[in-house]
């Protein structure tokens, strides 16, 4: 079995489950699932071996035509086991193309890229690699065009798109928090001296001025010496500044405190969803949905079976996998297990009937199809298969009735089935359709399931809610402090954040939010900080969340370009406004 580092650790139960799981009903000639993940007949292994050999042939080809033939052979072989895409080989071809381009073998680079596109069409990695090849070739327009073609492709694949949006969420949360810190810094810039003066005056009632000022400094900075002092310090300052803040600034402060309380809950949910998305079983399922065959697909499916050994949906899925591989005996065993739990499962009944039909056991086939038709009278496939089974049993009257019923249900589909001479009976990928259900089961098993019941569950709930409680407490403390202090009055905010002079203007241009904070416009100040902070943080987008497992790194060029241009535009507009106002 594939060792997968952290993933294996998260799936600590996996190894144990594999050891403890009852041996699969594997026949003597079938390979052990502990080696391959799922049982495989020699025929399937032969097909996979053929793929490996054809790939080696493609690598060593120096002739474009022969290389294209090798690609055709590879895809034909993959089709034999129901697969349409070969992502590992596509990645290999991309790497080969870049390698060839670096060796100035540009023709080879281009036909390698074509092969990569055929192995796994629409991948962004292929377009990014094409951009690299064009750049190495000196074709800059081509490189730019390829890069432009690549970016939309980033969102064309479910896993990568999902991870991208999850990363966007975490980036946005960090952005909000970061802008919040800077908002607080601007508040301190505009109101800090008044706060300090008020504290110095307070201590000045009992202490000489120099000592009072030192005491005021200590009163502002003492949380820094606490454990996690650098966390408590901004929170403490935000409470002290509350009294000096306008209504809109207070709304921003409350929103930031609530953000601190809510973000752990959001992140925890997101983390578990990403863990599931990146897990080998989830990758295997996604690949099956897209008919993608990658090297460790079968091992990863083995992990899925070990994680959810009792899941009927998993058995149904694996039955479909065996069926598409042509391993009907393994498929039949699993369909039967599905029907033991879900006797009215139409797709399992249909596929079991198809097995009997192919084994020429038409009586059993008719039985299965009849039951499927009874459970789902509107199922055209059930009636069509029934008609085929009646036909093979020389029950032509029944055959005609069944076929007529099938055509009444879905005339067009039935005609297309009839036109396909290679297909005698119809099979239904009901297991593949249950992938969302399996994902939910995986997520539940990841969440801890029964392991976090009782006191442990309550403790977890308390820990998650603790941050929210602290956030709400901050609001209460700030309000209480303000109400207690208000009768004594606040030191009036005087002057701007900067002394008058050249830096006064430049400070306001270069430090967004200061001008708004000076007149107490909290929302505007926060937004003024948020925009440049977002632009500054743009190049960090790929590193703040989970790395997307691209097979050819797209680089960070676009982020840098957008960030630099955006910042230049933003500060240019601010400068223009400032100069216009001055005039």
């Amino acid at each position: 079995m594939c060792r997968r580092g952290d993933r294996s650790k998260r799936l600590a139960a996996l190894a144990l489950a594999l050891l403890l799981a009852p041996a699969a009903a594997a026949r003597a000639e079938v390979s052990s699932s502990q080696l391959t993940g799922v049982e495989m007949t020699p025929t399937v292994r032969q097909t996979l071996k053929q793929l490996e050999e054809q790939w080696l042939q493609w690598i060593v080809q120096n002739n474009r035509q022969e290389a294209e033939n090798a690609v055709e052979d590879l895809l034909d072989t993959a089709h034999q086991i129901g697969m349409k895409r070969l992502p590992d080989l596509s990645a290999g071809a991309v790497a080969r193309a870049v390698q060839a381009a670096r060796q100035k073998d540009f023709p080879r680079a281009h036909w390698a890229l074509e092969a990569a596109e055929r192995f796994d069409p629409g991948r962004p990695e292929t377009a990014f690699a094409e951009s690299t090849v064009d750049r190495l070739q000196g074709d800059w327009p081509g490189a730019a065009a390829a890069r432009l073609r690549a970016y939309p492709r980033l969102f064309g694949h479910p896993l990568e798109r999902y991870l991208w949006f999850q990363n966007l969420l975490i980036w946005f949360l960090i952005l909000l928090a970061m802008a919040g810190c800077l908002f607080l810094a601007v508040q301190m810039l505009t109101k800090g001296s008044a706060l300090f003066e008020a504290l110095a005056e307070l201590f000045g009632r009992w202490l000489p001025r120099p000592v009072a000022m030192a005491a005021a400094g200590l009163a502002l900075l003492w949380p820094a010496v606490l454990p996690y002092g650098l966390l408590w310090l901004p929170l403490y300052w935000s409470i002290l500044l509350w009294g000096y803040a306008s209504a809109s600034e207070r709304v921003v402060l409350i929103a930031l405190w609530v953000l601190l309380g809510v973000s752990p809950l959001v992140l925890d949910t997101q983390r578990r969803q990403i863990a599931v998305a990146l897990s080998p079983p989830a990758q295997a399922m996604e690949s099956l949905e897209e008919h993608r065959l990658y090297g460790s697909l079968f091992s990863d499916l083995g992990v899925l079976r070990s994680l959810l050994p009792r899941s009927v949906a998993v058995k149904h899925l694996l039955a479909d996998v065996h069926r598409s591989l042509g391993q009907w005996d393994q498929a039949r065993s699993l369909y039967r297990q599905v029907l033991e739990v879900e006797p009215d499962n139409t797709s399992a009944l249909l596929n079991l009937g198809a097995y009997s039909f192919l084994k020429a056991d038409f009586g059993a086939a008719i039985q299965s199809f009849q039951k499927a038709a009874k459970v789902d009278p509107a199922n055209a496939a059930a009636q069509y298969n029934l008609s085929q089974a009646y036909s093979e049993s020389y029950m032509f009257d029944e055959q005609k009735v069944a076929l007529k019923k099938a055509q009444e249900i879905d005339f067009r589909m039935v005609n297309s089935w009839m036109a396909n001479s290679q297909q005698r009976v119809v099979t239904v990928p009901g297991g593949l359709a249950r992938i969302p259900e399996i994902r939910r089961e995986l997520l539940e098993s990841w969440s801890g399931g029964g392991g976090r019941e009782g006191s442990a569950g309550r403790a977890l709930l308390f820990r998650r809610g603790q941050s929210l409680l602290v956030s709400l407490s901050l609001v209460l403390v700030a309000v209480a402090l303000h109400l207690a202090r208000r009768p004594f009055g606040y030191k009036e905010l005087t002057g701007g954040a900067f002394s008058e002079g050249a830096f006064d203007r430049w400070g306001r241009v270069l430090l967004p939010g200061v001008a708004s904070a000076e007149v107490g416009e909290g929302g505007k100040a926060y937004l003024a900080i948020l925009v440049p902070t977002a632009l500054l943080m743009l190049p960090l987008f790929g590193t703040l969340g989970a790395r997307i497992p691209w097979r050819y790194d797209p680089g960070n060029l676009a982020s840098w370009v957008v960030a630099i241009l955006g910042l230049a535009l933003y500060f240019g507009v601010r400068l223009r406004q400032e100069l216009r106002d001055a005039i």
Binding site: G5, R7, T43, S193, Q327, Q423, L540, P549
Partner: protein, 389 residues
């Protein structure tokens, strides 16, 4: 945002009308030679006015007394009670039943009007308008429209000023001139109807030379009667030695925030001490994703070369990884050791591996890379039985 300028450039009536027309909320401060007046606007209407050299209590007390709303002994008693009890004089007067609140508000409105009428005579000084969401004012105070104020100001204009050398003009702020009930209509008479604004009266728009210099020289003796000499107070500002405090603290906080972003970004969203476990989980998750990316790259390399790369940098050079992928999410460099059919990765901190963060990957289980995976034992190789979906 704020608007500022000097009274040389814009006359006060113009400024007031602008604020009124635009229905602004905020505070207009006007700094003259000897006083500063702050006027609070709510939706373009005046709801409060205050002068630096005269507290609200001082002005109000004098109005109450002069308007006969409260007797001198009561006022004296209220003042002493106010001194003893603290709080606001306004509240005390109402609480101790010296005067009804409606009458008090009436007096406050009168005082505000008179202060503003005096202010309108200023022709020199600086103004600054601070726009905001809200302003504070006495609850129940009936707002004064700018139009109403200007009409009254015209009606109450003093007689033609005497030459400045002969006698100084009336002092603009502090205490209003003694009321002349017979000649002067009640300032806020409901019967007063607004008239067409028309051009500004010459006395307001173009102040007389005397009005242009509203304050007597500092060494001049105070005038007797209703006017008192105002002391010159500098514009309140934080002492220069303290201005740096806000800047320093702000800079420290900004540096802290950026350092956290670059070094421990998760702390920005999971900052509390009890979230150690969540932070650890998040780091582990990010590390797993990074290891998966490296695994894809390493196995793609294996697919082409038949072995894992000697160094991770080879994967970066091949374009399969980014340079940033050579460090774990906490910024620790990754120690990579390749073997014939497997490799290990572990982040290193100060030359020592971080326990529990290592991973090991192998070609096992990958039918494209692992020769053992597809070992055939000579069974039947009949073509598979395939049905189309």
């Amino acid at each position: 945002m704020s608007v500022e300028g000097t009274l040389d450039l814009f006359k006060l009536p113009e400024i007031l009308q602008l604020i009124s027309q635009q229905r602004k909320t905020g505070i207009l401060t006007v700094q003259g030679q000897q006083d500063i007046v702050a006027i609070s606007f709510l939706n373009g209407r005046i709801v409060a006015a205050d002068a630096l050299n005269q507290t609200l209590e001082e002005g109000l007390a004098q109005i109450l007394h002069k308007e006969g709303m409260i007797s001198a002994p009561d006022l004296a008693r209220a003042a002493s009670e106010h001194q003893a009890a603290g709080g606001r004089l306004i509240d005390l007067l109402v609480e101790r039943r010296y005067i009804e609140r409606s009458r008090l508000l009436e007096a406050l409105r009168l005082q505000t009007s008179r202060l503003l009428e005096q202010l309108l005579r200023w022709s020199q000084g600086d103004f600054k308008f601070y726009s905001g969401d809200e302003v504070s004012y006495e609850e129940g105070f009936e707002p004064i429209s700018v139009e109403e104020l200007l009409i009254h100001a015209v009606q109450n204009l003093p007689p033609a000023p005497r030459p400045a050398a002969a006698a100084p003009a009336p002092r603009p702020v502090a205490v209003a001139p003694a009321p002349q009930p017979a000649a002067e209509p009640a300032p806020m008479a409901p019967a007063l109807r607004p008239v067409s604004p028309g051009p500004w009266p010459a006395a307001v728009a173009k102040p007389s030379p005397a009005a242009a210099v509203p304050f007597p020289p500092a060494d001049e003796e105070p005038l007797p009667g209703a006017f008192r000499k105002m002391k010159v107070e500098p514009r309140p500002a934080a002492p220069p030695s303290l201005a740096w405090v806000g800047r320093l603290l702000a800079a420290a906080l900004a540096v802290l925030a950026f350092a956290a972003l670059l070094r421990v970004s998760d702390v920005l969203v999971l900052p509390f001490p009890w979230q150690e476990r969540e932070r650890g989980d998040l780091i582990r998750e990010r590390r797993s994703a990074l290891y998966l990316k490296i695994d894809h790259a390493a196995k793609t390399w294996f697919l082409l070369k038949g072995s894992f790369p000697d160094r991770l940098e080879d994967l970066v050079a091949a374009g399969l990884l980014a340079a940033a992928d050579l460090r774990d999410p906490q910024g620790h460099p990754l120690l990579y050791v390749a073997r014939e059919d497997s490799y290990t990765l572990e982040p290193v901190e100060n030359g020592k591996p971080i326990l529990g963060a290592e991973t090991s990957e192998a070609i096992t289980g990958n039918f494209l890379l692992d020769p053992e995976f597809l070992k055939l034992s000579g069974e039947s190789t009949a073509p598979p039985l395939v049905l189309l979906d």
